[in-house]
């Protein structure tokens, strides 16, 4: 018995170890350019971030097939920050100081990004951050390839207002920095559009909230005031599944009260019976269903790489695709992987995105993207029902918040400032 249990635990410990230790690329026989991947492979965020690690490995492999970069092979260095925010900073330091990586692709939650910011600043390295976020930040060493609020939240609200005639708004979110800031921006925006205070209901729930009965019932009640009502959801991660289940069971149909979500993508829908959700909306810059040759190629490569025909692609994956290609192009342009040269070279670099256009890196370290609104279909995919006519430039500082509307970011010389106050004419207004 004792022997059995010892073996049993040894086996379990081993499998646990295999998942959390670094999976490095081919053994370095020649000189390589190292690329750091800083995504949680264990803990709560593993559900979203593991996929991004895989997509990075795929992109690096593809680049090596094309002959690498500057005549050298790329080598991936994967670390697991285990959904532990302070550990993100430690692992980032390890990547830069010990492994000497040229650039890091990583982070998902805003708090993890905030925790690594000082490290990247101090050691002067590059971080490509692929997730939609709340804005109000522009840092010299960070490139934000996900959507800023004006590339996701504001167009989604515009769509509901103009196309669906929504007059009453429920802003429901998980209680942390992204939903709180986004909802603050949205509230200011809605009020600027003439929506009355009593027509906005803001509701926060804890992480991993699973009992949605009261909130769904509140939404129903709020919706019975004689005006078309919609829910703008910044509910994060796992909590979405029970939320949508409760909506479906309570009989709230998308025709009556549509829900537009900013954190629900193809990956989240994969674990869900989407029947009752048909018609609910999501706003992203990319959907797997987008019908372009480059996207078809990307999906095919991905499925072949991962060896599973059922795996889906999503928006943050596209952001990594864009970010990685931008970095490659900037390094080629600069002729070196040295951080300062790449930071200067990357501004203005434009690479194809997967929706059929080009995305360019702007001086504020945000990129240009199209905004798509999609409706959930029965097969767990999104059908694009609306898109912006052109590309939208990511805005680091929201125009609708006091203290941030006078700020701009421009990392070109001579300004080189992430928070330049246009009123006082000085670098270093409020915010970080």
């Amino acid at each position: 018995m004792t022997r059995f249990s010892r073996n049993f635990f040894a086996g379990m410990a081993l499998s646990g170890l295999m998942a959390s230790t670094a999976v490095t690329g081919a053994f370095a026989q020649e000189e390589t350019i190292k690329v750091g991947i800083l995504h949680s492979l264990s803990g709560t965020m593993a559900i979203s971030e593991t996929t991004l690690k895989d997509v990075m490995l795929m992109l690096i492999e593809e680049q090596n097939k094309k002959g690498g970069l500057l005549g050298k092979k790329l080598e991936a260095v994967v670390v697991d920050p285990a959904s532990d925010w302070p550990l993100f900073a430690e692992k980032a330091r390890e990547l830069i100081e010990v492994n000497k990586v040229s650039a890091v692709f990583g982070c998902w939650t805003s708090v993890s990004r905030k925790s690594v910011l000082p490290v990247f600043e101090e050691l002067n390295s590059l971080l490509f951050y692929p997730v939609q976020y709340e804005g109000e930040e522009s840092q010299r060493n960070v490139f934000y390839t996900g959507a800023a609020p004006n590339q996701q939240a504001i167009p989604a609200v515009d769509y509901l207002m103009n196309e669906e005639g929504v007059e009453r708004w429920v802003l429901a979110g998980t209680d942390y920095v992204y939903p709180r800031t986004t909802n603050k921006i949205l509230e200011a925006y809605l009020k600027a559009k003439g929506v009355a205070e009593e027509d906005i209901l803001i509701n926060y729930t804890p992480f991993g909230h699973s009992d949605w009965q009261t909130i769904v019932s509140d939404i129903k009640a709020f919706g019975s005031a004689g005006k078309k009502t919609a829910v703008v959801s910044t509910i994060n991660g796992d909590a979405n599944v029970p939320f949508y289940k409760e909506l479906g069971n309570a009989g709230i149909k998308a025709e009556d009260i549509p829900v537009v979500a900013f954190s629900v993508g193809e990956e989240e829908l994969a674990g869900l019976d989407t029947g009752p959700l048909v018609g609910h909306l999501a706003a992203w810059n990319y959907f797997q269903s987008v019908d372009t040759p480059i996207n078809a190629e990307f999906i095919e490569t991905w499925k072949a790489y991962i060896g599973d025909d059922k795996r889906v692609t999503n928006d943050p994956m596209e952001a990594h695709f864009i970010g990685f290609n931008m970095w490659v192009k900037a390094v080629e342009k600069a002729g070196t992987t040295e951080a300062d040269a790449v930071i200067d070279a990357i501004i203005g670099v434009a690479v194809p995105n997967l929706t059929g256009g080009y995305s360019a890196m702007m001086p504020n370290h945000h990129i240009t993207k199209p905004v798509l609104i999609g409706e959930i279909q029965e097969d767990g995919q999104f059908e694009t029902v609306w898109e912006t006519s052109g590309l939208v430039v990511g805005d680091a500082w929201s125009d609708y918040l006091d203290g941030s509307k006078d700020l701009i970011a421009d990392w070109r010389k001579p300004m080189s400032c992430g928070n330049f106050n246009t009123v006082t004419g000085k670098c270093g207004g409020s915010g970080s």
């Binding site: 049993f8 803990g43 209680d175 509701n203 804890p206 991993g208 009965q213 009261t214 309570a250």
Partner: protein, 558 residues
């Protein structure tokens, strides 16, 4: 259809014979019209609709919407199947000839039928079909169109749905059709719905004020949130008289709603309580009875949920038609899997740490991390889809209280598990042994009870029950490696609050915490409600350290 007709005849029997005849005629006329209309559906008439139906497959959402309106304008019930299929996303464009067909999923392919005649068609490969997409606005238009077309259908259920659709649409142009339908309606319930739909439509029309006031009365009678919504809209816009009537009606509805809100909170609370009970009941055995602080308890719940996923997968592969019974198989399977893992943990770790609570806590926490990561390595970090069997989907209404089936079943299930466990502990020999060992281990040992075996089995029982809790929770929560973490704190809270070592305490604690949480939530918000409950428990434990129902007697302190 017959009894209602008779009833209306009886009601009119007091009147004169001609009136009775007239009433009979009136009642039968629409029926006759309808049946003649149905028989008049000969082939050429149907074919004349085909261009309109085929046009659904072309153009943008706005074009399709126009086509739907055009189809509705024909007033021909024959187009209803096509429209319903479009709304459900079952309508396809056959690329070969541009014809529009209905495709229903059948096995791996699609079974095609003709949208007008309903005849089965030659199957076509999926690549030869284009799904006709719909958006929300289109779905609304279709719902209204189908409602208008099926008001006079033969099936009572269809008419009820039609009336509900028209009620929601609030379309002033539907009044005439509704008047006719109400006159012809034989089912009292549906007639009431139609009158409400008419009232809703009247409010949206430009009819005189007194008609609108009557409509407000009808809606106030209905008294639900939809009615509230419509009357509020009137109060904000209409004439003075109308506003007064609306104000009075609103006050009436709101009073009614306040009562229902109370009932709703109690139901939500009991439902949350049942989830807490399920999660905590296994812990009540391992922690409450054995005194082991088992941090891996949540992972037992997770293992149960993953077992459900595996069982459902087997069903999907081998016996898809028996899918509704998958949970029945998952229950014993989850009990065994979690129970065996529990026994292994007890034999492998916990028994070496007897009477060392701190080490036990750390060791079981380590085990929980290992289990989580093992599951993550095997199944991947993403959520797994666990389906709801048909009997657990949807909801029904008692008055204005919407009760979802999955929550109801979980409540019933939690109470059943609780009762079964209580009986096992009270009336079986194993239960007797367990109680003897927990009360006085040495005495029990000297009476010939094999305490190590009892320990292992008790821990296995507690873990097994956590496993079947996982089966139930997989129905309302998502099945991911993190599933267990979200329940561990709540479980400990319930057991400590209820009184360690007392199963009844666990029941009362789970239910009262659930209800308290749900009454606080609308006032304080979900985050604050949780904090308040936690603070309350901390204060309560200060006052009564042994919980609600402390074990009395000569239990030997460990």
């Amino acid at each position: 259809m017959k009894p209602p007709v008779n009833a209306s005849v009886n009601a009119h029997a007091q009147r004169s014979l001609p009136a009775l005849l007239l009433a009979l005629l009136l009642a039968l006329l629409p029926l006759a019209l309808l049946s003649s209309a149905a028989s008049a559906q000969d082939a050429p008439a149907l074919e004349s609709l085909r261009p309109l139906v085929d046009a659904l497959g072309k153009g943008s959402f706005t074009d399709t919407e126009k086509q739907v309106t055009a189809l509705a304008a024909t007033g021909d019930p024959a187009v209803v199947p096509a429209l319903e299929a479009l709304g459900n996303g079952d309508l396809y464009l056959r690329k070969a000839d541009g014809a529009v067909v209905i495709g229903k999923r059948a096995g791996s392919g699609l079974a095609l039928t003709d949208p007008l005649t309903g005849e089965a068609l030659e199957p076509v490969a999926a690549s030869g079909l284009d799904k006709i997409r719909v958006n929300n606005r289109l779905r609304r238009t279709i719902r209204n169109a189908v409602g208008g077309l099926t008001l006079r259908a033969a099936d009572t259920r269809v008419r009820r749905q039609a009336a509900e659709a028209i009620f929601k649409a609030q379309d002033a142009e539907a009044i005439e059709a509704l008047d006719d339908a109400i006159a012809a309606e034989t089912d009292a319930g549906v007639a009431k719905l139609m009158r409400e739909a008419r009232a809703a439509a009247v409010l949206a029309s430009d009819l005189p004020t007194d008609e609108k006031i009557a409509a407000i009365d009808t809606l106030a009678e209905r008294g639900d949130r939809d009615a509230l919504s419509m009357i509020t809209a009137v109060q904000n816009s209409g004439a003075t008289e109308l506003q007064e009537a609306a104000g009075a009606a609103l006050a009436r509805i709101q009073k009614l709603q306040a009562v229902w809100d109370m009932a709703r909170n109690v139901w939500f609370g009991l439902s949350l309580g049942s989830v807490l009970l399920l999660a905590a009941i296994g812990l009540a055995i391992t922690f409450g009875v054995m005194g082991v602080i088992n941090m891996a308890h949540g992972e037992m719940v997770m293992l149960g949920a993953y077992t459900t996923f595996m069982v459902q997968n087997l069903f999907r592969l081998h016996a898809p038609h028996l899918f509704d019974y998958s949970l029945l198989v998952a229950l014993p399977a989850a009990f065994l899997v979690a129970g065996l893992v529990g026994v292994a943990i007890e034999r492998g770790v916990i028994r070496f740490l007897h009477n060392r609570p701190l080490e036990t806590l750390l060791a079981t926490w380590g085990v929980s991390l290992i289990l989580q990561q093992t599951v993550r390595s095997i199944f991947g970090p993403t959520n797994q889809e666990v389906g709801n069997p048909a009997f657990m989907s949807g909801a029904f209404e008692i008055g204005q209280l919407t009760i979802t089936y999955n929550r109801l079943w979980i409540l019933v299930f939690a109470l059943t598990v609780f009762a079964a466990l209580l009986i096992a502990m009270k009336f079986t020999r194993f239960g007797l042994n367990v109680r003897a060992v927990t009360q006085n281990r040495r005495m029990a040992a000297s009476m010939g009870i094999r305490t190590p075996l009892v320990d292992a089995l008790t821990f296995g029982l507690g873990s097994g029950i956590a496993g079947i809790a996982g089966v139930a929770l997989s129905q309302i929560d998502n099945v991911s490696p993190n599933l267990g973490q979200s329940y561990i704190i709540d479980s400990f809270m319930v057991v400590v609050f209820g009184g360690v070592g007392n199963l009844w305490g666990t029941l009362v604690a789970a239910m009262s915490l659930g209800v308290a949480n749900k009454f606080l939530e609308p006032v304080a918000g979900a985050v604050l409600a949780k904090i308040l409950v936690l603070v309350f428990i901390i204060l309560f434990i200060q006052k009564r350290p042994r919980g609600l129902f402390a074990l009395k007697g000569r239990a030997v302190e460990a």
